[in-house]
């Protein structure tokens, strides 16, 4: 029995679990603010393979807690998926919802994990999914379970199974990293002595477009993550930067300087067919497609100071979107297209702001001073951004209502340029 257990422990370690305390330069997430009315949820220890079940449930709990929408309640003991939960006891513990589960070894050596989510007040089953997975897929399975619970309870898709991209700068070295949304399983897609900026996920999550300075000037690349193969998407005379994918994933809006100052163009994702989108005598940059593809939002100093504008993809005149203040940059549309995150300068402080596009009402979401590069979670609930704490670059996330706050940092390195990947289908 003992060697068997040990083997599983190793498997769990291979999956990069916290309980193995493997030293890695991984993002650590710290919760610094939570929602006002958090739903009390009990996630019981799953039954079955103890080491595996513990590892699973700890990740599920951490995911739900990090979202800031749930308050974890002690379930009082393990609970199998096929057992009736002790509803009266759970009620007295203050839980509104309970999840139990079981982990069993399947015939082929994989695991089968079954989950049951129940409403404590109504004593009713909310769902009971099952997952077949290997030991290496433990964390991924836990994220799937957390996504299931999140969606059942909030009506919105969970984003625990998504990935994020970001750039880590250590002395003389830049790494473009891909990690799970909780910072685990980080992998470098590119390591370079020259800067890397502006990573952008293709809508299907298979590719990243980014700007690398490895040729001593900014060049836009498209990088296929599974194969590691990449191609140049824009390398014209001058600078090439700010790639943004069209919603169908076929084109990139880019900023080129081949005809003078920074201007907006669209190229096919393979780098062919460059066409100009907008014309100004000053700077146009940071294009971002609206989710329906109708408009391209961008930053321009055509009015004298950097402000956000939008232009219809079909052509026509650019229309100014921001008016308050003298520095509003980096537009990022929410997945539903109804609001826009951007960076506003207020008395020398660069802060993350959110505008409701219909009412133009704007809310400053942070109290920091060097916010940059906002990126929406694909369910629109959180905004990931770069900021600085104690002179070091960190990533932070804030809910679109400003209440839930997280900090993601890497020891002894600068983290910047975050981009939240799409939902996993």
């Amino acid at each position: 029995m003992r060697p068997m257990r040990f083997q599983r422990f190793l498997l769990a370690c291979a999956a990069g679990l916290a309980l193995c305390s493997v030293a890695r330069a991984q993002l650590t997430v710290e919760i610094t603010g939570a929602g006002a009315n958090r739903l009390p949820v009990a996630i019981a220890d799953f039954t079955g393979e103890r080491i595996v079940a513990q590892a699973l449930t700890s990740v599920v709990r951490a995911d739900l807690e990090r979202s800031g929408l749930f308050r974890l309640v002690d379930a009082g003991g393990p609970l199998a998926d096929n057992a009736t939960p002790p509803f009266e006891d759970l009620k007295s513990r203050g839980a509104d919802v309970v999840a139990g589960g079981s982990v069993a070894t399947a015939a082929d050596g994989r695991y089968e994990t079954r989950v049951r989510l129940s409403d404590v007040q109504k004593q009713a089953v909310l769902g009971n999914p099952a997952y077949l997975h290997t030991g290496a897929q433990l964390r991924a399975t836990a994220h799937r379970i957390a996504d299931f619970i999140y969606e059942k309870l909030t009506g919105e898709p969970g984003v625990f199974s998504t990935r994020i991209a970001y750039v880590v700068k250590s002395t003389g070295r830049y790494e473009l990293k891909i990690a799970d949304a909780d910072g685990a399983n980080d992998q470098a897609a590119l390591a370079s002595r020259e800067p890397i900026i502006s990573p952008a996920w293709s809508p299907d999550g298979s590719k990243l477009a980014y700007v690398s300075f490895e040729a001593k000037k900014p060049v836009v690349y498209v990088h296929d993550l599974a194969s590691g193969r990449r191609h140049v998407a824009a390398n014209f005379k001058g600078s090439n930067s700010a790639p943004a994918w069209s919603p169908d994933g076929k084109q990139l809006a880019v900023v080129l300087t081949k005809d003078g100052s920074s201007q907006l163009y669209v190229v096919n994702a393979d780098g062919s067919g460059v066409t100009r989108v907008a014309t100004s005598s000053g700077i146009d940059t940071e294009p971002r497609w609206a989710p329906d593809g109708g408009f391209i939002y961008f930053t321009s100093d055509r009015g004298g100071s950097p402000q956000i504008y939008r232009i219809a993809r079909s052509g026509g005149n650019a229309e100014r979107v921001t008016f308050e203040g003298s520095y509003n940059v980096t537009p990022r549309l929410s997945p539903d297209g109804k609001s826009m995150a951007f960076i506003a300068r207020n008395g020398g402080r660069f802060q993350l702001a959110l505008m409701d596009l219909a009412s133009k009402q704007t809310q400053i979401l942070t109290d920091s001073t060097k916010d940059e590069s906002p990126s929406f979670a694909p369910n629109g609930r959180m905004i990931l951004y770069a900021t600085e704490i104690g002179g070091r670059g960190v990533l932070a996330a804030v809910s679109s209502d400003g209440r839930v706050k997280q900090k993601l940092s890497v020891q002894a390195a600068d983290v910047r340029e975050p981009a939240w990947g799409p939902l996993v289908r």
Partner: protein, 180 residues
């Protein structure tokens, strides 16, 4: 930065001194100044053309601390890409040098301080590089000799968060063939 670029320059000088014929005494850019309307006689080239035929006298000036050509950086005000008057004579010297050495190429790198958006700062650095390029073109540098690019806020000369430091980072750098 200076220390880093001195090596390729030295190599360039050695190559130039070792194998070049004496520099023509007339303006070496004279090949382009044909009288208008003159019929161009097509003669297959016989003369040996080496990739870099620079005037060794002028090349030395690039490193001579007494020559204005040894100065390669100009500085800008916050959120501005206007070349200040104090740098006009420096840009004129470089423009004339490029005109006199048509095979010499230059990469102009525009830079910005760290405040604000990386991409906007990249565009700002491009505007600064472009301002330098235009000034050089006005004094004789040819379009194909110069490329203006931006490094944005990514390659600061000074890394502290102070006005003194930021001023050093709002910069246009001129790099000659062999230096980039």
């Amino acid at each position: 930065m200076r220390a880093l670029i001195s090596l390729p320059i030295a190599a360039l000088l050695l190559a130039a001194c070792g194998s070049q014929p004496p520099a023509p005494e007339q303006n070496p850019a004279g090949v382009e100044s044909r009288s208008p309307g003159a019929v161009k006689v097509e003669t297959p080239p016989v003369a040996q053309v080496k990739p870099q035929q620079f005037d060794p006298g002028s090349i030395a000036a690039l490193k001579d601390p007494k020559s204005p050509l040894s100065k390669r950086s100009i500085y800008f005000d916050y959120d501005s890409y206007v070349v200040k008057d104090e740098f006009q004579s420096l840009l004129t010297a470089h423009g004339k040098f490029l005109a006199a050495n048509p095979k010499m190429k230059m990469l102009i790198q525009g830079n910005a301080d760290e405040r604000g958006s990386r991409e906007y700062n990249l565009a700002l650095g491009q505007k600064r590089a472009e301002a330098v390029r235009k000034a050089l073109a006005l004094t004789g540098a040819r379009e194909e000799q110069i490329e203006a690019v931006s490094l944005g806020e990514e390659k600061p000369a000074c890394t502290e968060s102070s006005e003194e430091c930021w001023a050093k980072n709002r910069r246009g750098d001129m790099l000659y063939s062999g230096e980039f």
